[in-house]
């Protein structure tokens, strides 16, 4: 083997892997390569081991605890979620109870007293109570009696022949209908 090759093998493998028989044989015969090997044998133990670079047990424990805390988000998340759900339930029940106690819950629309819905109800009541007006039952009955009678048919019944002729001469078919 050439010295260059042997010295490269020495540098790449001393302290990590066993040297090949060829390299050892060469080193036994070559003073230059033996000097390189002796140097490395002396130097590398001074590079110490991993253990010499470890931090204190306390620091290692602290790192481990931080990692364990960080990798357990599922449990933390579940507790948080459970708390959030419980808080939501309490909030909804509380708001409902307060609403019920204040009477707001009886009127789901909570309309103001002068709203159009109230006006409609008042009008309906008036129609029912007024003796001169047709009863609501009668009105519904007249409409229901001939559902196919259109507003145009009703108009034809009431209008005079002259008025009809005037309308036909002055309005388009679309406007007339």
């Amino acid at each position: 083997m050439r010295c260059e090759r042997v010295q490269e093998e020495l540098m790449l493998n001393i302290g990590v892997e066993a040297l090949s028989p060829e390299v050892l044989e060469h080193v036994g015969q070559c003073a230059e390569c033996r000097a390189v090997k002796d140097d490395l044998d002396r130097v590398l133990p001074n590079a110490l081991s991993d253990q010499a670079f470890s931090l204190s047990d306390q620091v290692l424990r602290e790192i481990q605890e931080k990692v364990e805390k960080s990798i357990a988000p599922q449990r933390i998340f579940s507790v948080q979620r459970a708390l959030a759900i419980a808080a939501s339930v309490v909030l909804v029940v509380g708001v409902s109870y307060v609403g019920f106690r204040s009477g707001g819950i009886d009127d789901p629309f909570n309309l103001p007293p002068d709203s159009s819905a109230d006006t409609f109800v008042q009008t309906f009541d008036w129609l029912e109570s007024d003796a001169d007006s047709p009863s609501m039952d009668a009105l519904f009955e007249s409409v229901d009696s001939d559902p196919y009678r259109s507003s145009y048919d009703l108009l034809l019944e009431e209008i005079t022949d002259e008025e009809l002729e005037y309308l036909e001469n002055n309005l388009s078919a679309g406007e007339l209908l």
């Binding site: 490269e8 540098m11 790449l12 302290g15 990590v16 140097d39 490395l40 044998d41 002396r42 130097v43 590398l44 133990p45 001074n46 590079a47 110490l48 081991s49 991993d50 253990q51 010499a52 670079f53 470890s54 931090l55 204190s56 047990d57 620091v59 290692l60 602290e62 790192i63 481990q64 931080k66 990692v67 364990e68 960080s70 990798i71 357990a72």
Partner: protein, 189 residues
């Protein structure tokens, strides 16, 4: 495969199925190596701790995509390497001065040795940290993964996304520089 390596692979398999306890065990088994790696790569113990933390969080999130083509150790080194390289890039971009090793978190030597030997090891450790910071990032990473993590060049290539020849060149250059540094500094065994 050693017993320890087998156990680590089994823990990884359980963790992949969502077993958080197995992941904690795995983390405990690999924490030292990952912290030592990020520490040597950055020379900053606080950054090393943060990067180790980020590495394991990313590992947990991505365990589903770990197919077991490589060992879980190599996979963790890859994540740590990526995190560290990103950190170093940002640091280079936003800092106009070299990072100064943090003094708040000091490494601890657990071995029961005589005080003079401990002092010598402490000095060597600091010297090695200083030396590693002088290496270009890719050479530093190649040295870290080959010498300290004992990975094959092919594994380092997969980890760093570099060609085999490039990895070998980076490692060889790092070793050459270490040898020169040792001679200049008068290291003894």
């Amino acid at each position: 495969m050693t017993q320890r390596a087998k156990k680590i692979e089994q823990l990884a398999e359980k963790a992949r199925l969502g077993d958080q306890r197995a992941f904690s065990e795995l983390m405990k088994a690999k924490m030292n190596e990952i912290v030592a790696m990020t520490y040597k790569m950055t020379g900053d113990s606080q950054a090393a701790a943060d990067l180790a933390q980020e590495t394991f969080i990313a590992a947990w999130k991505n365990l589903g995509s770990f197919r077991g083509d490589s060992s879980v150790s190599s996979w963790l080194y890859r994540i740590a390497a990526n995190k560290t390289l990103n950190h170093l890039k940002k640091e280079k971009k936003y800092s106009s001065f070299d990072s100064v090793p943090d003094v708040n978190i000091q490494p601890i030597d657990h071995s029961p040795e005589d005080p003079s030997r401990l002092l010598e090891k402490k000095q060597l450790r600091e010297e090695m940290l200083d030396f590693m910071q002088t290496l270009p990032t890719q050479q530093r990473l190649a040295f870290e993964l080959r010498f300290y993590k004992q990975l094959s060049f092919a594994e380092i290539g997969e980890t760093t996304g570099s060609a085999l020849g490039t990895v070998k060149t980076n490692y060889r250059e790092a070793i050459k520089k270490l040898r020169k540094h040792a001679i200049e500094s008068g290291w003894r065994q």
